[in-house]
């Protein structure tokens, strides 16, 4: 198993109170597999990604749980140790390619420093590797492009550069935080295709964080759906998308337009995500849930196993969790 996250808790201690952005999340990804981490904004999916990277900034802090990378718990490792992993064994791709590259440094500087931070190679060797990485992600005439500044690239090209940087040191795990959200649909397709291909070829494990179910549908092997800092449903792509058990997952699927359901009204989830400072007791989703009743006021049990749901009144689908 490349990565195993166990009961991860990342809290933000703000003036207004403690925000439990990630509150007991567990999942795992195997070598060469792709995990889709799905949720609305504020569900804690990005914070989960940053927690794995050890990049949670104050007032946020990992207060509990384990992040086992290749069997070794990396929570609480000294900064120098975790830095050896970052960008080397675990890489990350960010959401907005316009913001992730440093505007005043040349692309080659930003690539070469990433190589030389982890390997004792001379500039020439590093430069060659950077050039090859750019070629690998489909950037034409990489030699010339290396000497350019980020603003001379289009958004899609910048994201390719960011992906090339993530791939530079052939990591074992890539955390991709909505890397296609800010891009045009056509570019989105290309990037999805290429990332998938690269991950399969290099046997890299991939965590794809997104709010867009249609993206993970074509990409991921497994899906975890997050709501209010917790995983509410987990399973293989087909299981979750074809037979969602949690009303929230069903709501998400219902709100995606599809060809097969032309002419039928889209369903929508009423209301908005509750404030993380003021979550309802019991199931966090119950105030927006059409199926909720008195039983939902008690916290639902933790989903266990590869297919699980955090709901006492699940829809069709698995029986786990409903046993209570």
């Amino acid at each position: 198993m490349t990565l195993e996250v166990r009961n991860l808790q990342t809290h933000f201690h703000t003036k207004a109170g403690v925000v439990r952005a990630v509150d007991g999340v567990s999942f795992s990804v195997a070598e060469g597999k792709i995990l889709g981490l799905v949720g609305e904004s504020g569900s804690g999916k990005s914070v989960t990604g940053f927690s794995i990277m050890g990049l949670v900034d104050p007032p946020g802090r990992i207060v509990g749980g384990q992040v086992l990378f290749q069997g070794r718990d990396i929570v609480g490792l000294p900064e120098a140790e975790i830095r050896k992993l970052r960008g080397n064994r675990i890489a990350m791709i960010f959401q907005d390619p316009m913001m992730t590259l440093n505007p005043v440094l040349k692309v080659e500087t930003q690539m070469i420093e990433a190589i030389r931070a982890h390997a004792d190679v001379d500039r020439k060797t590093a430069w060659t590797r950077a050039r090859d990485a750019l070629g690998q992600v489909g950037i034409p005439s990489p030699e010339e492009r290396l000497a350019s500044y980020p603003h001379q690239f289009s958004g899609g090209m910048r994201q390719r550069v960011a992906i090339a940087i993530a791939l530079l040191n052939k990591p074992d795990l890539i955390v991709a935080d909505e890397p296609t959200t800010a891009l045009d649909v056509t570019i989105q397709g290309q990037i999805l295709y290429e990332v998938q291909k690269l991950a399969r070829e290099t046997r890299t494990a991939l965590i794809w964080i997104t709010h867009d179910l249609s993206v993970v549908a074509s990409l991921a092997d497994e899906i975890c759906v997050m709501y209010a800092g917790r995983i509410v449903e987990r399973g293989s792509v087909d299981e979750v998308l074809d037979a969602p058990a949690h009303p929230y997952t069903a709501g998400l699927i219902g709100s995606v337009p599809s060809r097969n359901a032309k002419g039928q009204p889209l369903t929508q989830i009423p209301g908005v995500m509750p404030s993380m400072l003021n979550l309802p007791s019991g199931c966090a989703f119950r105030l927006r849930c059409a199926h909720a009743d008195a039983r939902c006021e008690v916290a639902p049990p933790e989903p266990v196993g590869p297919r699980g749901v955090r709901c006492v009144r699940p829809l069709a689908g698995p029986r786990t969790g409903a046993a209570a």
């Binding site: 940053f50 830095r83 970052r86 992730t100 590259l101 505007p103 005043v104 990433a114 982890h118 001379q152």
Partner: protein, 325 residues
């Protein structure tokens, strides 16, 4: 780039023309040019000769051209007090002022940037709060009073440093400066610190604001995600981004510093052109005042031009003429 420089040069020419008009009318229309250019103790014959020589009996627009033509020839009248061409007098004093101003600017960057970076990096630490409180004082303390206090503490009470004059000059690569002798340095330190104090505070605030603005940005997190050391992230990635506005502001401040050198030079008896202008105002040595004004206006225009060009070189987004959107 060339188009940009040409356009800026034309603008500068326009400003210079405008300022020459203002100085001219300030001197000739509001004040009495006879009084300004002719010593008060001159006799009647001398006066008439001078009036004819300066063309003061001609119509006003002709006088203006006369003034500009003379100015272009480098003739801005003779100093009554020193009895030499006023422009030569000012150019003689210029190096001392430039030396003081440049050392002060260097000090403000070398002290201000590290302190500001620390204050922005650890905003809640006691050190940062002390630095910021200090910077409020640096802003509020009137330069001339700080100068007096520096003299009182370091020259009168402690007796460590001299309080007046420029000291010995050394020559290095054909440049004469007090930077090259110990005696010169000891004379330079207090005035330069005095002049730098306001700008140290300014640079601290700018740097701190830049740190606070840049640290939460995605590119910083991405740089950290690459596994770079915190040192490299802050000293290369962040610093390079915040240096752009700092260089711009500090560049523009050079003009301010040269102007404020008037105060510091008066206090420390530094033989620069700022002290000269105050002496000239007090002695009613008006040709020197006119020459000083024109020269300082030209200096300002040149400094602004250089800063604009420097800025476009530093920021790759401006350099290539598109904003990267």
């Amino acid at each position: 780039m060339t188009v940009f420089i040409i356009r800026r040069l034309m603008q500068s020419g326009l400003v210079l023309l405008l300022m020459s008009l203002i100085v001219f009318f300030g001197v000739f229309a509001i004040g009495d040019p006879v009084e300004i250019f002719i010593a008060a103790d001159a006799d009647q014959a001398e006066r008439e000769r001078a009036i004819a020589a300066l063309g003061l009996d001609r119509p006003i627009w002709e006088q203006y051209f006369f003034f500009v033509a003379n100015a272009l020839k480098g003739d801005l009248g003779r100093s009554f007090v020193f009895n030499m061409p006023s422009i030569d007098l000012i150019l003689m004093r210029l190096p001392a002022t430039l030396e003081l101003a440049l050392v002060a600017v260097a000090m403000s960057v070398l002290i201000g940037v590290p302190l500001g970076m620390y204050a922005g990096y650890r905003p809640d630490s006691v050190g940062a709060k002390t630095i910021m409180a200090g910077s409020i004082f640096g802003f509020s303390l009137p330069t001339f009073w700080v100068g007096l206090m520096l003299i009182l503490i370091f020259a009168v009470e402690l007796g460590w440093l001299p309080s007046t004059g420029r000291g010995e000059l050394g020559t290095f690569l054909g440049v004469q400066s007090s930077l090259f002798t110990w005696n010169g340095l000891s004379h330079l330190f207090l005035p330069a610190l005095n002049l730098a104090l306001f700008n140290i505070s300014l640079v601290i605030r700018l740097t701190r604001a830049g740190m606070r603005e840049n640290l939460p940005m995605d590119y910083v997190k991405f740089a950290r995600a690459k596994g770079l050391s915190q040192r490299r992230v802050v000293l290369v990635h962040v610093l390079k981004n915040i240096l752009i506005p700092i260089v711009t502001v500090v560049g523009l401040e050079i003009g301010q510093v040269i102007a404020f050198a008037v105060v510091t030079e008066t206090i420390f008896a530094w033989p620069g052109m700022g002290k000269l202008i105050i002496d000239s105002i007090n002695n009613l040595d008006r040709p020197v005042i006119v020459a000083y004004l024109l020269i300082i206006v030209i200096m300002f225009i040149v400094i602004n031009l250089i800063v604009d060009i420097l800025y476009s070189i530093l920021d790759p987004r401006v350099r290539l003429g598109d904003m990267g959107k």
